[in-house]
Structure formats: C-alpha cells, structure tokens
C-alpha cells in the first residue's frame, strides 16, 4: 500500500492505537452492559436515594435511571466514565500526532517536502476525527453486541444520540489539545490545556450537584454540554451541539492561524 499523504500516513501510524483503544472501549461497554441485570432496579430504592444527602446523590446518580436499560447506560456509562476515559484517549491521540512528532523531528522532515502547513494541519486533524469516529463506533457495536447476552435491546435512536454526542465531545477535546500543541509547539502548554479541561470539567460536574456555589460555574465543564440522561429522555439540544462543534471549529482556526507562521523545531 502506498501512503500518499499526511492523512493516510497519520492513520497508518496510529493503526495499533485505534485497534487497542477500540478493543478497550468495547471491553468497558461489555463490563457495563453485563452489570445491568445486577444493578437493575424497579423503583424500590427510590426512597433510599431521596433520604441521602444531596452530595451523595450527585456521586451515586439518580437511582431512577436504573429502571431502564437506556437510562442505565446513559447514567452509568456515558455520564462521566466514558467521557473521562475516551477523553483521555482523545488527548493522548492529539498530543501524539502533533507535539510528539515535532519533538522527535519528524514534523520538520514533513515541512521540508512540498506540503503546505495548512495541509499538514487539516490532514492531521481529519485523521484524528476519523480515528475518534472508529473508536466511538466500536463502542456502539459493543453495546449492540453485548446487549444480546443479557436479552436487552436499546432503542436505536437513543443509542445513536448518545454516540453522536460522545463523538462531537471527543472531537472537541481532541481539537482543543491539538490546537494548543500545533499553535504553540510546546508540550507543557498542550498537556496542561488537555488535562486542565478534563480535570476542571470532572470536578465541576461531579461536585456541582452538592456544592451550591459551583452551580453557577456548571457551564465551565465541557461535560455540561453532554447531559447523557437528558439526551436519552429529551433528545439532543441544539445549544449543546453548537457549543461542542463551535469549540472544534474555533480550535482548528486558531491552529491554522498560528501554525502557518511559527518556527518548527
């Protein structure tokens, strides 16, 4: 197979990454799906939840959600677990196709060829989007596959909504990190942007249920724009989609502006 461009080269370089992470995320879904029968509740624990202090409710989640397979998956898999784990994956991916290649000198070799800086950015970014799509689709296939083992079946529309939102969330996280790396060329900058967004989001989202003053800052968490249970129950909100896609687009534009005019190591 002839690797003709940066897009193909990035996919080729990352083939084992895709394979490993897709399997990993499928394993996570397998685990969460097979837990469902044990966790399944038909409302009898509602009283118990209500009696807990609100801070605990935030950590455990609404036990109501355990009564249906789709809300169970939304609250136990897509809310926070999947977001954090796949978010880490998106950040690692973004760093490895940008700053890592610059640090070891491969980016300079690319720049020496007749490939424009714009093309390098766009093709790498597209490859990242494709890789994230494959891993997210793997998760979807995993759910469809493993649900047969427990004789459940999720509504396809509900699953598609969750998967779509996961997809654009990961692209937003990856794009932010990619932008920091390609615009600055400094690993610590890129790494802190990625980790900061993820860590702040995690803390804000998990604690805002219990800590009153944090409520005002809820929207500082990127996960605020992916309320998994509401997405299953009420559908996708235009605002959430716009924010997440907006983050990606702005990141890409910033990358292009800075990367086209800076030194390459």
């Amino acid at each position: 197979m002839i690797i003709r461009n940066v897009f193909m080269k990035t996919l080729y370089d990352k083939r084992w990454f895709v394979f490993g992470w897709t399997l990993g995320l499928m394993a996570l879904t397998a685990l969460m799906v097979t837990f469902y029968p044990a966790m399944h509740q038909d409302g009898s624990l509602e009283q118990l939840t209500k009696s807990m202090p609100p801070a605990f409710q935030g950590l455990v989640g609404n036990l109501d959600n355990l009564s249906r397979f789709s809300t169970y998956l939304a609250s136990q898999l897509f809310d926070i677990r999947m977001q954090i784990i796949a978010g880490v994956m998106a950040i690692i991916l973004a760093l490895s196709i940008s700053i890592s290649e610059e640090e070891n000198g491969q980016l300079r070799s690319l720049t020496a060829l007749p490939i424009s800086r714009t093309a390098i950015v766009v093709q790498k970014w597209l490859a990242m989007v494709v890789i994230l799509s494959v891993t997210v689709l793997g998760t979807m296939v995993g759910i469809l596959l493993f649900q047969t083992m427990i004789n459940e079946s999720i509504d396809l529309g509900e699953l598609a909504r969750l998967i779509f939102m996961t997809w654009i969330l990961l692209i937003a996280l990856g794009s932010l990190t990619f932008a920091a790396a390609m615009a600055s060329g400094i690993r610590s900058v890129a790494l802190s942007v990625g980790i900061l967004v993820l860590a702040v989001s995690f803390i804000v989202t998990t604690f805002s249920v219990g800590v009153d003053w944090l409520k005002d800052f809820e929207s500082f968490s990127i996960f605020y724009f992916f309320p998994a249970v509401d997405i299953v129950k009420e559908g996708i909100q235009l605002r959430d989609v716009s924010v997440l896609i907006g983050i990606s687009v702005v990141s890409l534009v910033v990358t292009l502006i800075f990367f086209r005019r800076r030194d390459i190591r």
Binding site: I3, K9, Y12, T111, A112, I115, R117, D263
Partner: protein, 303 residues
C-alpha cells in the same frame, strides 16, 4: 518561478531566540550551479541559517528569496517543489519502512522519477524493507539522501549530510555531488569535513558567531594551495620571507619549525640551503583543508 541566475538570496537575516542572537545580519546570494560549502564551528549558526532559508523558521529580521520569490513559512512549500533537503540528524517517519517513505516522498512531487531513483538506489543501496526506526544512523541517512536527490530538484540543501556515513558511502556521496554539478544543480551543504568541502565545493562560506566572515570564491580556493614546510634542527631557525603561520616547538629531538609558504620556490630553495644542523625536513603541499583550519583558528574578526 521567475527565471533568474540568482537562485538563493538572503538579505540581512537575523534570528534571535529570546534575547540570544543565533545569526546576525546574514546576507549572501547563490547562483545557479554553484556548490556551496557552509562551514563553521559548532554553534556558529549554520543550521539556524538553513532552517530560516527553507522556511522552517521565521527570521527576526531580513528577507529570504528562493528562485526569485520571497519565502515565508506559509508559502515555503511552493519552492520546496524544486528543493531536496537532507540533514545528518534528520528524523524520518519512524513507523514507515524505507520503501514506504520513498513512496510517500515521491507522491508529493510531480513527474516520473523512477529512473533517477533506480540509479540512486544502485549507488547507495539503502535498506528499504526494514522499519526506519530499526535502522542504524548511517542507513537512515542513506535513505534521506536518496529522498533528497531522487526528484531531480534544482537546489539541494544538505545539513551535515555525511556525518554518519562510512568512508565508502562518503565517496559515493562526493561522486554524486560531482555528477549533480555537471547537471547544473545548485548545492548548499554544511559540513565539518573540510576535506570533502575542499574536494567538491566551488565556493565556501565560513560562519563564525552567527555571521558570515569569509566568502571564498572558486579562484581563491584554487590559489589557496601553497607549501607546508617542516624543519627539525638543533637550534631555532628564522622562517623565510613569505612564511605564514609559523610555529616552533621544542623537545628532546630539537626544535621543530613549521610554516606555510606561498612565495617563489627558488627563494625557498636558497633558504633551505642556508640551514645548519638540520635533523629532519619535509616540504609538502598545503591542502585546502589546512587552509580552512587556519581560518577557523585565526579568529577572523568581524569587520
């Protein structure tokens, strides 16, 4: 691409890293077909100059033109269509095999270059089947060199191209440069091997502390040769007129006097005949290499 004889031109290029000035006010131009040797001690600023020249970095001040067009990072790829580049410390894509890399580079250029590639593969016989990250430094370098020359570029820029090559490959490389010269290719190469620079270059730029301090033309290079005289005697001798860079060292065998000489030969003969109690004597050709070495040492002051 405008038709010009001047194919590389730097005007007052300065590059600072923070407050540190790596190169300052560098200006030179290169005509089509010249083979430029770019020399200077470690840290003199050679790589910094080359990086700015190819648009890898943005000069703090000054302008760069290739093929008569002003070059900035966002348009550098246009001139790269006619430029080959290789560096001794270059990292090639680690996950590809040599063959995959060659194919990848080839895909970025227009035209059919298979014949040219075949010839280069014969000359350098690089290992193409192995993954690049498993190759030795010299073997990586061979692939980089093949990739730099295989598209028959008008300019080839090389940053210490032979630093990891074995002597046989170094010879193959010099052979390649000579044949490229016949094809009218312009070559700009930095090197620490003064011998190889002396052998193939038509002009030498010497860099010191971030400035170009010597620009030795072809004629100057021809004339640079003279005699290197070494005399061992019981007592110290006074070197003849026209002697340069004379040194004397004392040891138990006597006094050794060394100097280079580019005056009339009969005069040297007369001087030699007048020497007393000489225990050893040698008169040899002063190589270009020795000439460069003295330039490094001289501490050429910036004017």
């Amino acid at each position: 691409m405008k038709k010009t004889k001047t194919i590389i031109e730097l005007k007052n290029v300065t590059k600072k890293f923070g407050t540190f000035t790596a190169i300052e006010d560098v200006s030179f131009s290169v005509e089509k077909g010249e083979i430029i040797g770019f020399v200077g001690v470690n840290g003199a600023g050679k790589t910094t100059t080359i990086n700015a020249m190819l648009g890898f970095s943005v000069p703090t001040r000054g302008t760069i033109s290739l093929f008569g067009e002003r070059v900035v990072p966002s348009n550098a790829h246009l001139s790269h269509r006619h430029i080959g580049y290789a560096a001794g410390d270059m990292e090639l894509p680690l996950h590809l095999t040599g063959q995959q890399y060659i194919d990848f580079v080839m895909s970025q250029f227009k035209g059919d270059h298979t014949d040219r590639l075949e010839a280069l593969l014969k000359q350098f016989s690089p290992q193409l089947e192995k993954k690049i990250k498993t190759l030795s430094r010299g073997n990586k370098q061979k692939i980089a060199l093949v990739a730099a020359f295989m598209t028959s570029p008008a300019i080839v820029v090389l940053d210490e191209p032979t630093s990891g090559l074995d002597p046989i490959m170094q010879d193959a490389f010099l052979e390649l440069i000579r044949s490229e010269q016949k094809n009218g290719v312009t070559i700009f190469m930095s090197s620490h091997y003064l011998q190889e620079v002396a052998e193939v270059c038509t002009r030498v730029l010497l860099m010191k502390n971030g400035r170009i301090v010597e620009d030795l033309s072809a004629e100057r290079l021809q004339r640079a040769s003279g005699k290197l005289v070494r005399v061992v005697s019981k007592k110290a001798v006074i070197p003849p007129p026209h002697a340069k860079q004379a040194t004397t060292t004392d040891n138990e065998h006597g006094v050794t006097t060394e100097f280079s000489y580019d005056g009339p030969i009969p005069q040297l003969q007369v001087w030699l005949a007048g020497l007393k109690s000489v225990t050893d004597l040698s008169v040899g050709d002063r190589t270009l290499e020795a000439e460069f070495r003295s330039l490094y040492d001289e501490g050429v002051e910036v004017k």
